[in-house]
């Protein structure tokens, strides 16, 4: 998500599952939809069957997605950027570019600061000490009029297009083969198939998941494909898009509502301590347009922010106290993400920790470090419908959890919660649909909803502050908590707050004598939000989900006019029930559909109309207002300015643990802008000792660590294993079904070996590279047999922008061992 926002303006999947049927080419790279998202993958099958669409799979393993692909191309994990920049280079060299789209709707023509450059694997401004960049030069050239300079002919040597062309020129098919191990002929065939989608009447969709995010440069993997999709003119169109297949049922929602260290709902950001007051905070947000006439929708930032503060603190958030700005925490570091939190815990600087439906012991890298960190806590609170390993991190389970309970002083609470079947509310799927669901079963035992638990904690904490006082009690005492039953807020009450309501009577801006929305009424959408405290709204992008017309998320209209796949009356999609983001880009500059047979939104002479809610002002003049309304330029970004920490363009970097050195810049280990804690550097392994390239993955029979509690799934895949190719098995004398020990610089695990043809040796930089696959579904609770997971082995390092741990590429050694005595 951290890569889509700097490119298009919003960090979310652009299209929907049902829209995939409209595509001509599906590229699955960085994911394995057939196994991880089987019922969504069905739409790939539909496209293949009904439209003759083709499927390309690029993956280190011959997955089940690959088994039904028209073309499978192997790749070494962690080299996707080199591969994709190679495809972009191919498209530019072979004129496979949707030129009208690139000229009109991207920043290809904008001129870049003269000081910006790239050499020896680094962009301008690098500070090796800080492992960070001074990003000053990553900017446009600005004119006297306050707008960015542009050359629409794309001739200027400093225009984005020419810088991009030069940047990708080194990624030749030969270099791609050398880095990625992908055979040149297969790579070129992939390029050819992708290149065909530069035609206005052909679209390609990208389906990816954690195979791209779980890298130290995950965001740039995704950006490389996002750029390719722009060059092909595939964003905002039916059957196109960047389709981020989120792992869990409500990851999208949790992120939208900003449950992250540095976020507030709707992708607003928590202030830093340099922003000492609201004016300073606002001075770096609320972007002014960078080109004339653009919507630059973040100009409305203050309306969203103030309405959020009103939803938090109600009457206590006033203009006089800057709407309680001081009550928000102010960050001293970019974020207290999970890696930093566990580093602090490991250092003994974290005392309490809550896991709400989260199995940290199996989810976070370098399990030994996680166990030690949890052991230093004073208290740990688990809320979960299942008995997790994290709740039992102190319990000895032999080699599968080798701890000494008496030495662990952490006080642990396990609180039973309801599961989906017993709970009410909405979940946001990958395609941004908010679907309401209803409870059908009575909770087992004494299980309670999370809403009840959170409310009880709040009320108790509040009572303690009322009784005893204490530092900064007001944000707790004055939290707006006006629910019918304060001890158990109902789902619809909370949903109404997310949507927003009028705090006072709202006057009609066109006729101030008239009241547009009465006090207390639900708002119709985010356009009604104001920055003077007269509206409250928990999450501005969700505004419209629960209006005076009722709960829009509960809609179940199955109609789909002309079978476009939009299903606009089924549930509700953010923002404003738009089903395909940036849909104005489905028509050319004049507003005429690129492809009549796949039209989506067009200009009817006076307004935008079509099968979807326009993702632009309905009367915005074509040719003037550009489709990417969240970006200050109005166009999508091939050059991402300062949006990402490691550069405005993606560049190839190896994983922190790689079987070969970075052939472009051998001195650079991993992503030069990724944060690494000192204690973890010492625990990186090298290929001399750990020669094999390991990766983690899911199996179709399991979902993370949940389904091992489910009898059927535990029977289908009962036992942990590792997967290796026949060549490696032969070399090491490992038998199919035999026992092996797999070790990394951080730990070792024991497993049965599955020897397959699905993994083959690759040749990278002249050297053979063997891949070891490690599925992630086992632990020591539930019905499946006790087993290990990849996190006993993986390194404690994350993506430079959002700190997603590098689970998909690390080094191990593997040896055959004697099996356990039966």
């Amino acid at each position: 998500m951290a890569s889509l926002a700097p490119t298009f303006g919003r960090g979310a999947m652009t299209n929907s599952w049902t829209d995939i049927k409209n595509t001509d080419l599906v590229v699955i790279m960085g994911g394995n939809a057939a196994e991880a998202h089987p019922c969504g993958f069905k739409w790939v099958t539909e496209a293949k069957h009904n439209r003759g669409a083709k499927l390309v799979v690029v993956d280190p393993r011959f997955t089940r997605s690959a088994s039904v692909a028209d073309l499978y191309c192997p790749i070494r994990q962690g080299t996707d950027i080199a591969y994709l920049l190679g495809v972009i280079n191919y498209c530019i060299q072979n004129d496979k570019v949707q030129w009208d789209y690139v000229r009109s709707f991207t920043n290809a023509g904008l001129l870049v600061d003269e000081r910006f450059g790239y050499s020896d694997g680094l962009f301008t401004g690098y500070d090796e000490e800080k492992r960070d960049y001074d990003r000053t030069s990553w900017d446009y050239q600005m004119g006297q009029d306050g707008f960015a300079l542009v050359d629409d002919t794309l001739q200027h040597p400093r225009c984005v297009w020419n810088l991009l062309k030069q940047h990708v020129s080194i990624y030749t098919p030969e270099l791609v083969e050398r880095i990625c191990g992908s055979p040149k002929d297969k790579f070129l065939k992939v390029c050819e198939m992708i290149g065909e989608c530069s035609s206005k009447s052909r679209t390609m969709t990208s389906m990816y998941a954690l195979g791209w995010t779980q890298h130290s440069k995950g965001a740039q993997n995704i950006r490389a494909m996002a750029m390719l999709q722009l060059i092909l003119g595939n964003i905002g169109v039916r059957g196109g898009g960047m389709n981020a297949l989120r792992g869990h049922s409500n990851i999208q929602g949790l992120t939208d509502i900003g449950l992250m260290s540095n976020l507030m709902p709707g992708y607003l950001t928590i202030p830093t301590e340099r922003e000492t007051n609201l004016d300073e905070y606002m001075s770096t947000r609320g972007f002014k347009p960078l080109r004339p006439g653009q919507m630059s929708y973040w100009q409305n930032y203050k309306k969203f922010f103030v309405s959020f503060q009103k939803a938090m603190w109600g009457d206590a958030a006033t203009a006089e106290n800057s709407f309680a700005y001081d009550w928000l925490p102010k960050l001293d570091v970019p974020s207290y993400d999970i890696l930093r939190a566990f580093e602090l815990m490991y250092m003994g600087r974290m005392n309490g920790y809550f896991c709400q439906g989260f199995n940290a012991l199996l989810s976070f890298p370098n399990r030994r470090k996680i166990t030690e960190a949890l052991s230093k806590l004073k208290f740990l609170v688990i809320m979960d419908p299942l008995q997790t390993e994290t709740a039992r991190f102190w319990e000895n389970h032999g080699e599968h959890n080798d701890v000494n309970a008496s030495a662990i002083q952490t006080e642990v609470f396990e609180l039973p919660t309801t599961c989906f079947a017993e709970d009410e509310g909405s979940l946001t799927n990958s395609g941004r649909w908010l679907q309401w669901h209803w409870p059908g079963g009575t909770p087992p035992g004494e299980a309670k909803t999370d809403n009840w638990i959170m409310a009880q904690l709040h009320l108790r904490l509040k009572a303690l502050y009322e009784k005893e006082g204490g530092p900064l009690a007001d944000p707790i005492l004055k939290l707006d908590w006006r629910y019918k039953d304060p001890g158990h807020p109902a789902a619809d009450e909370l949903a109404k707050e997310l949507n927003g309501y009028a705090v006072t009577d709202l006057a009609d801006p066109a006729d101030p004598a008239k009241i547009q929305i009465e006090r207390g009424k639900q708002l119709p959408g985010f356009a009604a939000l104001r920055d003077d405290g007269s509206t409250a709204c928990g999450c501005w992008i969700y505004s419209g989900c629960f209006t005076e017309a009722g709960n829009q998320m509960a809609r179940r209209d199955t109609r789909d006019p002309d079978d476009t796949g939009a299903f606009g009356g089924w549930a509700w999609a953010w923002p404003a029930n738009r089903r395909i983001l940036y849909n104005r880009a489905s028509s050319d500059l004049e507003g005429k559909p690129w492809d009549e047979s796949r039209k989506l939104l067009w200009w009817d002479g006076s307004k935008w109309t079509g099968y979807d809610i326009p993702d632009i002002a309905p009367n915005a003049q074509p040719g003037q207002v550009m489709p990417f309304i969240m970006n200050a330029e109005g166009s999508a970004r091939l050059f991402a300015l300062r949006g990402l920490r490691e550069g405005p363009f993606p560049a190839h970097y190896e994983p922190f643990e790689s079987p070969i050195a970075n052939v472009l810049a051998p001195r650079i280990r991993g992503n030069p802008a990724a944060r690494v804690f000192k204690t973890d550097v010492a625990q990186f392994g090298n290929p001399e000792k750990f020669p094999y390239a390991a990766t983690s993955y899911r199996l179709t029979e399991h979902f993370h660590f949940w389904t091992k509690h489910v009898q059927i799934n535990a029977s289908l895949q009962p036992e942990f294993f590792v997967e290796i190719g026949e060549e490696l098995a032969h070399e090491k004398g490992i038998k199919a079904g035999g026992w092996v020990r797999v070790s990394s610089a951080r730990g070792s695990i024991r497993a049965k070996a599955v020897v397959t043809k699905r993994i083959r040796k690759l040749i990278c930089d002249g050297k053979p590279v063997h891949i070891v696959g490690i599925p992630l579904h086992w632990g020591f609770t539930g019905e499946a047999r006790e087993g290990f997971g990849p996190n006993s082995l993986t390194p404690f390092v994350g993506d430079a922008n959002i700190e997603t741990p590098e689970y998909k590429a690390f080094l191990v050694d593997i040896e055959p061992i004697d099996g356990p005595v039966a």
Binding site: S261, H458, P475
Partner: protein, 200 residues
């Protein structure tokens, strides 16, 4: 608006002559057989309460229908005895994957958490504790830590209201409404080590 599907009604309609367009006919039954099939189905589900939900696992968010004895909406005790794909759902159209198809076993898993438990420092076992005692104790621990470690002002004297010594990891399958309630409670305390599963 909030249209709760009635599969019985749907199947009755199917039996009454629309069989050619229903999934039953698609299984190869003729019209007469479809009517019989629909009637048998109808019989089987006659006393079940049907509730619409979505699969708890991945982000495809397949529609499901849960069948229970008893109706929670009427305040009754309800036990879910069958879960199947929602044939009307635009994305999954009744299909479920190997995980979704086994959801019933998730709901009734032997390793569901049932009672609040506490594991005391150094102990090798969990012990039952009442909800009231557990929540009181947790609130106490929170307040003590917050009162001791909340950073109200940084060295420069700027108000920062930062509580960095307790963290909160939110879920990935809870509702948006729970997410919002959680956001309010956690942020009001000043917790900064706040995160969710999006990263992993």
């Amino acid at each position: 608006m909030n249209i709760q599907v009635s599969r019985r009604r749907f199947l009755q309609l199917a039996g009454a002559g629309a069989a050619a367009t229903t999934s039953i006919a698609a299984f190869g039954h003729g019209e007469a057989e479809a009517q019989v099939a629909a009637r048998v189905r109808n019989f089987k589900l006659a006393r079940a309460t049907e509730t619409r939900n979505t699969c708890t696992y991945c982000s495809v968010a397949c529609g499901i229908i849960m069948y229970s004895r008893g109706d929670v909406k009427k305040g009754e005790t309800a036990e879910i005895f069958h879960i199947e794909g929602d044939a009307e759902h635009p994305t999954n159209r009744g299909t479920l994957c190997p995980k979704g198809a086994a959801l019933l076993d998730y709901v009734h898993s032997k390793t569901r958490t049932l009672y609040p438990q506490v594991r005391k420092p150094g102990s090798d076992k969990f012990e039952r504790i009442s909800w009231g005692d557990a929540l009181d104790r947790i609130a106490r621990l929170m307040k003590d830590d917050r009162d001791k470690n909340l950073i109200e002002r940084n060295e420069a004297g700027v108000t920062v209201n930062r509580w960095a010594s307790t963290g909160f990891l939110a879920a990935s399958a809870t509702t948006n409404e729970t997410a919002w309630a959680t956001y309010k409670v956690v942020r009001s305390t000043g917790i900064v080590a706040f995160d969710n599963q999006a990263r992993v």
